[in-house]
């Protein structure tokens, strides 16, 4: 009979190429992922429709956690570290805290400042794993006579003089309004009238004025 003979082909495929691709992608994702910043102070931010992103450098971050404690930190940039050191030296001098240069260097390396001025020396001797919201009591802002945030913002303004500085306020959902107001007072006392508040991105609800504005393509930067 003249039936054509179908050649039996092996079903085994060479996986080498696919393996290469998989691991290439894997290394790409691992390398491009930024590790989440240390969560020593957990803060869950509210959501907003604000379209702009938080800048990465030249920022002074004021964190406000759920218990109303206030912390201060700066960007991760080398430049920001230098500024932080300058700030600490400035605060040290003006308030006669008696910090050694070694202690200032330690404080600069720590992720944030979260103690009253008088206790900065103690914070400088804390191990890094103890720098969290349970141990630190926060920068006092409670009453108008002892709002130490004013001093810190003043130092920040001095350190960033001549350059650009963004004040970033990162508040927790359940933080009470009065603490927030005290921080605003500290901003105002230093003539800093513009600041940003960290939020999570949310979609603009359909049918609202902003939604229509965005759809019409005439969206302006608010």
């Amino acid at each position: 009979m003249g039936r054509a003979k179908i050649a039996r082909k092996s079903t085994i495929v060479d996986m080498t190429a696919m393996c290469d691709v998989a691991f290439l992608l894997l290394s790409f994702f691992i390398l491009t992922t930024k590790p989440k910043p240390s969560e020593a102070v957990p803060i869950s931010t509210p959501t907003s429709v604000a379209p702009k992103f938080v800048p990465d450098k030249n920022i002074v971050i004021i964190s406000l956690d759920k218990d109303g404690k206030v912390y201060l930190s700066l960007g991760d940039d080398a430049d920001d570290r230098q500024k932080k050191q300058a700030m600490l030296q400035d605060v040290n001098q003006r308030n006669n805290l008696g910090l050694s240069s070694g202690e200032i260097a330690t404080l600069t390396a720590q992720p944030f400042i979260g103690v009253p001025l008088a206790q900065l020396k103690q914070q400088a001797h804390l191990p890094v794993d103890q720098i969290n919201s349970k141990v630190l009591q926060g920068i006092p802002t409670q009453d108008t006579t002892n709002n130490q945030m004013i001093e810190w913002i003043r130092a920040a303004v001095n350190a960033y003089q001549g350059g650009h500085m963004d004040l970033v306020l990162k508040g927790d959902n359940v933080a009470k309004y009065p603490v927030f107001k005290n921080i605003l007072t500290a901003f105002k006392k230093n003539d800093q009238f513009k600041f940003q508040m960290v939020t999570n991105q949310a979609n603009v609800p359909q049918g609202t004025d902003l939604y229509k504005l965005n759809m019409s393509g005439k969206a302006e930067q608010m």
Binding site: M15, L64, Y177
Partner: protein, 191 residues
């Protein structure tokens, strides 16, 4: 010399007593490795937070500006929103009536309709005055500012709550009117 003998062999005759070593294939089945690779990729893709934090910009007024230089709010276009505890929202239009008759309770869902209604009614005169009391949270404050940008309200102001308004808020929330709290609101000027 240095290279391995990978040819099939056969032409080289070995002695009769020498056994020929069995040739093993150098091919490895890479399927499990590919599986693992893609599993890890999926893991990293899902655990990576794609959303970057956004920033809401806010400009504060300068307190040093003299009262006579400040803008007066037209009462016809004023909508005052008060924030209380437990996400309560209250509002009144224009000036607060002495008996509190125009003081209304609302919530974060309904306040948008109220803002939209007032916006259509007052048109360019619209000014929203936001007054959070001491019990309100940071989230409430952000939410109401967000409401301003959602409804494209161009003019709004954040003002300290006055003792009278605070009393109404607390009364509506079912709390006795505070005696001490009104005194601790330092910047709140009496009406």
């Amino acid at each position: 010399m240095a290279e391995m003998d990978t040819s099939g062999g056969g032409h080289k005759k070995k002695g009769p007593g020498v056994k020929k070593g069995k040739k093993l294939s150098t091919r490895v089945d890479l399927t499990p490795m590919v599986d693992l690779g893609f599993l890890l990729i999926t893991f990293f893709v899902f655990t990576t937070t794609i959303t970057r934090a956004t920033a809401m910009h806010l400009a504060l007024p300068d307190d040093k500006v003299k009262p006579e230089d400040q803008n007066k709010i037209k009462q016809s276009g004023a909508l005052t929103i008060l924030l209380g505890k437990d996400n309560n929202v209250f509002y009144y239009e224009g000036e607060l009536a002495p008996d509190g008759s125009n003081f209304k309770a609302s919530n974060f869902k309904d306040i948008r309709d109220e803002i939209i209604r007032k916006k259509q009614q007052a048109d360019t005169n619209l000014v929203v005055v936001i007054k959070p009391n001491d019990e309100s949270t940071y989230k409430n404050f952000i939410d109401i500012l967000d409401e301003m940008s959602i409804n494209v309200v161009k003019r709004y102001a954040v003002v300290d709550i006055s003792p009278v308004e605070d009393k109404y808020v607390r009364l509506t929330e079912g709390e006795p009117a505070p005696q001490t709290d009104a005194a601790t609101t330092p910047a709140a000027g009496a009406k």
